[in-house]
């Protein structure tokens, strides 16, 4: 029974991870930008949702809109005004990484100063769980998160396969110069990637705000998980990232079945480490063992 409970929790957490990871994977996979500030996007979305809902007292639909817009805008702005200039100087993988990390610090402290450094959570009945069967408590959020994740992935999949954007992004990841030769604009494509990728954090952010609650550092952990999921799933493979995210979420929780929670993160990253050593290509991706 405890097992079932943990599994259920794992699925909810996993759904959130899956979405965020897919976002990171999309961005990193296509633009090769190590977008460490993805966590910051997550935090911004969460805080603005909370602010719009609790602070300005908007209806939740508007609050969601606010969160979505802010996330997308933040992502695209970073791409345009931070990453683009760096890459123009043939900026290396890690130049980007350091800048991205810097932005992360800025955002975390800004949020702290603006909205308070303490813990916040959206007061909603949805997070109160009910006993569906003896010993198994589920909150509406559990279901919502999973359903929402499925919908998002369906939509994403549709968008990437029906339109050519998906292919174009893959092409971008392999050879931007040639993409220009084809008559496409790498800039525009990477904007697409950032908009989509940032949008994908929004559900996760909202459910976190309502469920576990948020503090300015909330993005950090999610970011690490996304990174792990992206690699385990195979870089550039959204399916992989999603599955890996889900798997990690479940693993984290099931770990508690026998171990203390302080081990859950370690377990996630042990998985990551051994995956890289024994199957660098991840679930679906391609190996880059040179």
């Amino acid at each position: 029974m405890l097992f079932l409970q943990l599994l259920a929790n794992g699925l909810q957490v996993g759904a959130i991870y899956a979405l965020t990871a897919a976002g990171f994977s999309l961005i990193f996979g296509s633009t090769k930008i190590f977008h460490f500030a993805h966590g910051a996007t997550f935090a911004i979305a969460a805080y603005l949702f909370h602010f719009a809902l609790a602070g300005m007292g908007l209806h939740w639909t508007f609050a969601v809109a606010v969160a979505a817009i802010s996330a997308v805008v933040f992502g695209v702005l970073l791409d345009r005004f931070m990453y683009a200039p760096i890459q123009r100087h043939e900026g290396s993988f890690f130049t980007v990484f350091v800048a991205s990390f810097g932005i992360g610090i800025v955002v975390q402290n800004l949020l702290g100063s603006l909205f308070g450094r303490g813990f916040m959570s959206v007061a909603t009945p949805l997070s109160n769980s009910v006993e569906v069967m003896p010993g198994l408590y589920l909150s509406p959020l559990n279901g919502l998160a999973i359903v929402c994740a499925i919908i998002c992935f369906a939509a994403l999949h549709f968008f990437l396969t029906r339109t050519f954007v998906g292919k174009a992004l893959r092409a971008l990841s392999e050879n931007p110069e040639l993409v220009r030769m084809f008559g496409l604009s790498p800039r525009r494509l990477s904007t697409y990637a950032f908009a989509l990728g940032s949008l994908l954090v929004v559900p996760g952010a909202i459910f976190t705000a309502a469920g576990t609650g948020i503090n300015p550092a909330v993005g950090h952990h999610v970011m690490l998980i996304s990174l792990a999921a992206t690699i385990v799933g195979g870089i550039g493979s959204l399916r992989g990232a999603a599955c890996a995210g889900l798997m990690i979420g479940v693993a984290e929780n099931l770990a508690m079945w026998k171990l203390g929670t302080q081990w859950s993160e370690a377990i996630t990253f042990a998985i990551l480490f051994f995956f890289i050593i024994f199957k660098p290509s991840g679930f679906f991706g391609r190996a880059t063992v040179s």
């Binding site: 303490g118 007061a123 576990t212 952990h221």
Partner: protein
């Protein structure tokens, strides 16, 4: 001719809320001291940011000791306090902790004082109340696996059996963890009467919320870390028990009264024990320095220490208190219940043994 003392508080990062709280207490004390003209000069407090991290703490402490040359430094957080204690000892600067309650803070040398009773006293008081008065038998502990958490674990394991209760299970969590639905599930699965939460900062709020969200109905209990506004306002936390050193907020003793009134006047809410502690920390300095000036001795760490040993009781918020030999304050402990009032409602007071 200002008289300066230092403070190493977390002013940024996840624990910055504490910095703000501690400050409000210390500043008030300095204000009072200056209003009364207790000292020849103006008492000023120089704040440095530790981010609650040891290394930053040491850097900050270095600045205070070596650049500003202060004789007396307010410290907070177990990790930071430990880190700066060596420097305090070497530079003969008094470091005073009013926030961290890890029992090992009592063994950091004679230049390290605590104006706060340490966790081991608190746990005893709470256990006694919960078992004897409320008749709870089964306890579960959720604790951050740092020295504080462990000491609480040990303390519970020691005291509960003697009271005829048992510690059913204990879950240690990482300081950075934010996801507790799993813990909640496990807590629920061995349904205890009391869940003792030994955490701090924003984490403890998250724990409480998620425990309740995931259908844990048991009595929640904790230690003085709960005396922060966050908890006091959080509705999931209503009814939770926690301990602080006993301060009778509406006692008529002048020091306490003035403190409480001015604080309410200034901040429009009731003070908490943290605020009182740092008020006391500064007040202790003011008192000692006053004496030293009368004997026109220089105000140095060494003299302050000597003078403290010479003084047996201090007039502080919460009444007359005295220091133990190891520099730790002895004070009665009270058990409070979170009732949204901001400071909590006192339900039980356990005198010092």
């Amino acid at each position: 001719n200002d008289i300066e003392i230092g403070a190493v508080f977390p002013l940024s990062g996840p624990n910055a809320t504490y910095g703000d709280i501690f400050m409000s207490g210390a500043d008030l004390a300095a204000k009072h001291a200056n209003d009364d003209g207790m000292l020849s000069g103006d008492l000023k407090i120089l704040y440095e940011d530790s981010q609650a991290l040891p290394q930053q703490g040491v850097v900050a402490m270095n600045k205070l000791v070596n650049v500003e040359g202060v004789p007396y430094v307010l410290s907070a957080f177990t990790g930071v306090s430990k880190a700066i204690s060596t420097l305090a000892q070497r530079s003969r600067t008094v470091a005073v902790n009013g926030g961290g309650v890890g029992p090992d803070l009592a063994e950091l040398g004679e230049y390290f004082w605590n104006v706060i009773p340490l966790a081991n006293n608190e746990v005893g008081a709470l256990a006694a109340y919960a078992v004897n008065d409320l008749g709870h038998k089964r306890f579960t502990l959720v604790y951050v696996d740092d020295p504080l958490g462990e000491s609480i674990l040990n303390e519970l394991e020691k005291t509960l059996p003697s009271l005829g209760a048992e510690l059913v299970e204990s879950h240690s969590i990482a300081a950075s963890a934010q996801q507790f639905s799993g813990v909640a599930a496990r807590v629920r699965s061995n349904n205890p009467d009391v869940v003792y939460v030994a955490s701090y900062g924003s984490q403890q709020l998250q724990i409480v919320k998620q425990l309740r969200d995931n259908g844990v109905k048991a009595q929640i209990a904790s230690y003085s870390a709960f005396s922060v506004p966050g908890i006091q306002q959080q509705e999931e936390a209503q009814g939770a028990l926690f301990t602080t050193q006993s301060i009778d907020w509406d006692s008529e003793d002048p020091v306490t009264k003035r403190f409480v009134d001015d604080y309410q006047a200034m901040h429009g809410k009731n003070p908490t024990s943290y605020i009182a502690n740092y008020y006391n920390a500064v007040r202790v300095f003011a008192l000692l320095a006053q004496v030293l000036e009368e004997q026109d001795k220089e105000i140095t760490g060494a003299n302050l220490l000597a003078q403290r040993k010479a003084t047996d009781t201090f007039e502080l918020v919460g009444g007359e208190v005295s220091f133990q030999e190891n520099g730790t304050l002895l004070a009665p402990i009270q058990v409070l219940e979170v009732d949204g009032s901001g400071s909590g409602k006192t339900v039980f007071v356990k005198a010092t043994e």
